[in-house]
């Protein structure tokens, strides 16, 4: 039957003329179609390649035949085989006069060649010629090739012709020319920067299709630089209005929707332009409201437009009425049977809860349904939503769900992603130490090799430092619970290396600290680890270092050390290891054991991993020795700049120079986890009373500016060597620390705090929203299980209060108020990185008189990594501190230089002026700032308008009133 059909088609094909293929090709396709295995297919294709190689080289091939060969080449390449031997023939074919052959040639080269291919140079000339052709189809074919084949270097060769085509009589050509320019812009923005005005001009093209095409490049341009296009807001709004009012020709309707693709583009553009701009946003309200009302919610495309409306509404300055309509649409999406709509509903909900958190509540059951849906896409999107609405009252449920899901999937990429989200949430909102440790254990156990190593280091540091409150009991309780849980886990097979490192380190530091476990028990476990994972050198390093620590603590405590036999043999084995690192550690261990208690104590003070160590850079204690040596005729020291290949001691302190500290001369007695903990140096240098080096890596947020922070930290370190351990606060968890908008590491969530700067207004909205949100409770009859889940996800913080959490409680009340009130402004500050200076000039506005007394940031120009998380609850001052590596910005020149590229206007004395961030997404400005930035615009706009008129763009006869009001 199938065959009959094929034959029928073949016959039909034969009569089709232009598309007819030879028997040979049909056979090829058929035999490939019938191939039973990949190997068989490969064999057929390879044979075909041989045939083609032979045929194509024959002289005087008729053109029609040649065309077919080229198509066969394309086909072969699509199946994954190399057809490069025929590229040159495809290039030749583009030179042909016949349109059919030319188009085939162009098609083949666009599929074969990349823009940097050597053969391109042979085509550029043809393209140039074809762009000037009288036949518009030839021009179109050439434009098509232009998009694919022209690279940065060759753009100038074709640019003049393409620009000329912007005035072509055929609208199809104009459209394609604009898109080609857009493509150039993608490849090299500078090459077309002088042509941006052309896009503006084409926006007023007579043909709506051309206008629509212009929106694509404009969207890109606007997302890079919002402010230079504010003048177009009026035009865009009026175009959108006309489109929505069906004033376009019928031909642009799609499924009874007037030009939906144009509407979507426009809404996207308006979302960018209206973000953080009250004035601009207000001009959009009417038209967006209209679309909400008119849009047909039955068709796919209608929903697409509605969804875009929601995105727009959540991005521009909020308007209660529009938010209401948006919420209505969202609930329709979520209630729909279509998974696609549910997906969009969840996504839209995620956008909207940042503005009005209370809307999540009415949809809680729908959200839970989505979470349990078998559809993976939907599930993931829902997790994203949950991530955005996590607060300390629901963190346990959410993180546990996430971990369960993480365990259930195989996709490493997404696993990593979920793991990092879990860690982030756990750090931010952990209700208790115990829970935190358990959660981290789970994450490490199941995704240990996928998470960033810094997460492990961070965990070690957390355990070591405790949580900063002067609550030693809680800290030691945390440590012993960690030790206990690790001893339970350590026996399990195949733990991830990163997790083992953490375990070894913690056991080494604290295994015997509370006296619950004997040294021999712990060392026995450590030896087991070193043996079980004998392939993993890093684990062995950690294990052996941990052994040394345990023995050292024992000796220091005056107990007699009995080395287990297995330890003995392990150490012996390692002292013959190929790894010099391991070998050295083994020897060090042996050396330490033979020392007396006093010496050991000063080498390995107990629980001192967080103490800081002063480094005497000049090694002044050696001066007398050096002097003596010189007197005895030794060679004087040659500075390092004059040598090469020797160890740079001054680098030793730097955290980034791990290489050096790992493989060069060792100055430290034993290994500690790399970045977060200070390296050790020999006892003589240990001067506890002296000022200390801050070795801190402000958590591990993955933002780029953090990197800058780290460096600046070490820079600052050389000026002021001190780590303040007092006043360091809990790293996590205040119950009311609720909105996702306040998370530091998630800049995307911040930027959307509807871009408001109306500090008080937004604050009020937020707090009001929250109270209503919290006061209501779920009351739908549905299976109790779901209800419970819903309650734990969406329930207010009132629940938390009942829970006996450890220390996290005391801060609750004061800061809950603070958090709500200052949420919005903080997001502003955080996202708008440039506002640092602000704090330095600003007389504290009313935001500052909140609960916690400001730690005098500027007077103590110190990095406090813990502030990073705390900071959000603190005053603006602290926030800015956090953002910028906390070093009093004015004091360190390095830091200032980090901001050198930001507009200088920050200096202006008025505190309210914040500089619009260069990044497209964040444009948070106060009203005043808006005016400030909008200042030059009216003039600009007038000029542009005049220019446009001058260029004689007049409404066409075809659409007489389409763009009249646009310009009027």
């Amino acid at each position: 039957m199938e065959q009959l059909k094929t034959i029928g088609r073949e016959l039909a094909m034969g009569s089709q003329g232009g598309f007819g293929q030879s028997k040979e090709f049909l056979d090829l396709v058929k035999s490939i179609g019938e191939a039973r295995s990949k190997a068989e297919e490969d064999r057929i294709v390879l044979h075909e390649i041989e045939t083609l190689k032979r045929r194509i080289a024959e002289p005087d091939i008729p053109k029609r035949k040649m065309k077919e060969y080229i198509i066969r080449l394309v086909y072969v390449e699509m199946l994954g085989h190399d057809a490069s031997f025929g590229y040159i023939h495809a290039v030749k074919m583009t030179h042909d006069d016949s349109l059919l052959l030319k188009r085939t040639g162009y098609l083949a080269v666009t599929l074969f060649l990349n823009e940097d291919h050597d053969l391109i140079i042979l085509i550029v000339n043809t393209i140039q010629k074809d762009l000037r052709s009288d036949n518009y189809l030839v021009v179109c074919a050439a434009l098509n090739a232009v998009c694919r084949l022209i690279n940065e270097e060759t753009i100038p060769a074709v640019l003049p012709q393409v620009v000329e085509l912007l005035g072509h009589t055929k609208e199809g050509v104009r459209k394609k020319a604009i898109m080609a320019l857009h493509r150039f812009y993608h490849k090299s923005p500078s090459s077309v920067s002088h042509l941006v005005s052309n896009f503006r001009k084409r926006l007023c093209d007579n043909d709506p299709g051309v206008m629509g095409a212009t929106l694509c490049p404009l969207f890109d341009l606007i997302s890079v630089d919002v402010n230079s296009y504010k003048d177009l807001v009026v035009s865009f709004v009026s175009i959108l209005k006309q489109v929505a009012e069906r004033r376009l020709p019928k031909g642009y309707d799609y499924h009874q929707m007037p030009a939906p693709f144009i509407q979507i583009r426009l809404l996207k553009i308006l979302a960018l332009l209206g973000s953080g701009d009250k004035l601009a946003s207000e001009s959009m309200y009417t038209v967006i409201g209209d679309i909400f009302r008119k849009c047909d919610s039955l068709s796919n495309i209608g929903n697409a437009v509605l969804y875009e409306c929601i995105c727009c509404v959540s991005s521009i300055y909020p308007n209660p009425k529009l938010l209401e309509s948006a919420a209505e649409v969202i609930s329709r999406f979520l209630k729909s049977d279509s998974h696609n709509l549910k997906y969009l509903g969840i996504d839209a909900l995620g956008r909207l809860i940042k503005i009005s958190p209370e809307i999540a509540e009415q949809h809680q059951l729908a959200v839970i349904d989505c979470l349990e849906d078998p559809d993976d896409t939907l599930k993931r999107k829902t997790f994203e939503l949950l991530y955005k609405m996590t607060k300390s009252s629901n963190v346990e449920v959410i993180v546990n769900r996430m971990i369960d899901y993480m365990i259930s999937i195989n996709d490493n990429h997404f696993k990593t992603y979920i793991a990092s989200r879990c860690v982030e949430l756990a750090e931010q909102f952990a209700p208790s130490n115990h829970w935190f440790i358990q959660t981290m254990n789970k994450v490490f156990e199941h995704a240990g090799d996928l998470v960033n190593i810094k997460v492990a280091h961070n965990l070690m540091r957390l355990i070591a430092e405790g949580f900063g409150e002067d609550d030693d009991a809680a800290d030691s309780q945390l440590r012993s619970s960690a030790v206990e849980s690790y001893l339970l886990i350590i026996g399990e097979p195949k733990l991830p290396s990163v997790f083992l490192q953490v375990i070894c380190w913690v056991l080494g530091e604290y295994g015997t600290a509370d006296g619950k476990y004997s040294a021999s028990y712990i060392t026995g476990k450590l030896c087991d680890v070193a043996e079980a994972y004998s392939n993993d050198e890093t684990v062995k390093v950690y294990a052996v270092t941990a052994l040394m620590k345990i023995y050292a603590f024992e000796i220091a405590a005056g107990r007699k050390v009995d080395m287990l036999d297995e330890c003995q043999s392990l150490v012996e084995e390692l002292s013959a290891s190929h790894s010099t690192d391991l070998q050295q550690r083994a020897y060090e261990l042996q050396a330490v054991i033979s020392l007396d208690a006093r010496a050991v104590e000063s080498i390995m003070p107990s629980d001192a991993s967080c103490e800081d160590i002063e480094i005497d850079e000049n090694l002044s204690f050696l001066n007398s020795y050096v002097q003596q040596a010189l007197e005895n005729g030794a060679q004087p020291y040659i500075p390092e700049s004059e040598r090469s290949g020797m160890l740079n001691i001054s680098n030793f302190r730097s955290q980034d120079q791990l290489e050096v500290s790992m493989h060069g001369l060792r100055f430290e007695a034993y290994e500690l986890p790399k970045p977060p903990v200070p390296s050790r140096i020999p006892p003589p240098l240990l001067a506890p009373s002296a000022e200390l080096v801050p070795v801190s890596e402000p958590s591990y947020s993955r933002e780029t500016h953090q990197v800058a922070t780290v460096t600046s930290v070490s820079d600052a370190g050389s000026l002021e060597l001190k780590l303040r351990l007092d006043g360091v606060q809990r790293k996590w968890g205040k119950p009311t620390y609720s909105s996702p908008a306040s998370s530091t590491s998630n800049s995307s969530s911040q930027n959307t705090v509807n871009g408001t700067t109306q500090v008080d207004g937004a604050g009020n909205v937020n707090s009001k929203a929250r109270t209503t949100y919290d006061s209501r409770r779920p009351q739908v009859e549905i299976s109790p299980e779901k209800q419970k889940l819903a309650a734990s996800l969406f329930g207010g913080p009132s629940q938390t209060e009942k829970r006996p959490t450890s220390a996290s409680h005391k801060v609750a009340k004061a800061s809950s108020h603070a958090a709500e009130k200052s949420q919005a402004p903080k997001a502003v500050v955080v996202s708008n990185e440039v506002t640092v200076e602000k704090t330095n000039h600003q007389p504290p506005p009313d935001l500052l008189d909140l609960g916690e007394p400001t730690v005098a940031t500027s007077s103590a120009p110190l990095v406090d990594p813990f502030k990073q998380l705390e900071g959000l609850l603190d005053t603006t001052q602290v926030t800015s501190t956090v953002n910028h590596g906390a070093v009093g910005a004015t004091e360190s020149p390095d830091i200032i230089s980090l901001y050198a590229n930001t507009p200088a206007s920050v200096q202006s004395s008025s505190a309210e002026i914040s500089v619009p961030a260069n990044k497209d997404d964040i444009n948070v400005t106060s009203t005043l700032a808006t005016q400030f930035t909008k200042g030059p615009n009216p003039k600009d706009a007038l000029e542009k308008d005049a220019l446009v008129r001058q260029l004689g763009v007049t409404p066409s006869s075809q659409n007489p009133n389409l763009f009249r009001d646009l310009l009027g």
Binding site: R9, S98, L101, L137, N144, R148, H182, A304, D376
Partner: protein, 166 residues
């Protein structure tokens, strides 16, 4: 922008693969394979959207539609709207249908060139060019008309045409 258009059958054989950023042949195959791997594991009646950061790098989504023996796939970034892309697939399929009268997989295999012509009229350089299948059809017809015209001129041997005019 749209990064790629793919059509593959339910056995994973590519029927059309067009990447708007250049991808070397091996990479193309790898992408097609991994997309197929994801698609064939998806149940019926689930959403048509996928987040494909692991296949195509950050900020990439995929919309697919399953027709008979074929998957139609569009890969794009956050500057496009998922539902709209789904409709674009619809436009493409509608046009194919108009072009081939009850389109089936074989049509696509044998009319590879024409399929490219159609997609070039709908998506241009990674941007949506035209969304009305009638308009696309008009353009296609115009092209084939001109092509056959130029064909008959150039493909008739010179001597013969010379002979005719005499």
């Amino acid at each position: 922008m749209i990064r790629s258009v793919m059509v593959m059958n339910t056995q994973g054989k590519p029927r059309l693969a067009k990447f708007y950023d250049f991808q070397p042949v091996e990479k193309q195959q790898e992408l097609i394979r991994s997309v197929f791997g994801v698609l064939c594991s998806r149940a019926e009646n689930v959403s048509n959207f996928l987040e494909t950061d692991s296949i195509f790098g950050p900020d990439s989504r995929l919309v697919y539609k399953h027709y008979a023996t074929l998957y139609f796939v569009l890969v794009f970034d956050s500057s496009e709207n998922e539902l709209a892309m789904l409709d674009l697939i619809q436009v493409f399929v509608e046009t194919l249908d108009k072009c081939f009268k009850n389109v089936c997989e074989l049509d696509l295999v044998f009319n590879y060139c024409k399929m490219h012509t159609i997609i070039d009229e709908i998506i241009f350089g990674g941007q949506v060019l035209e969304t009305s299948s009638t308009e696309v059809m008009k353009a296609i017809e115009e092209i084939s008309k001109l092509e056959t015209a130029s064909n008959s001129i150039s493909l008739v041997p010179k001597s013969v045409s010379g002979w005719r005019t005499r």
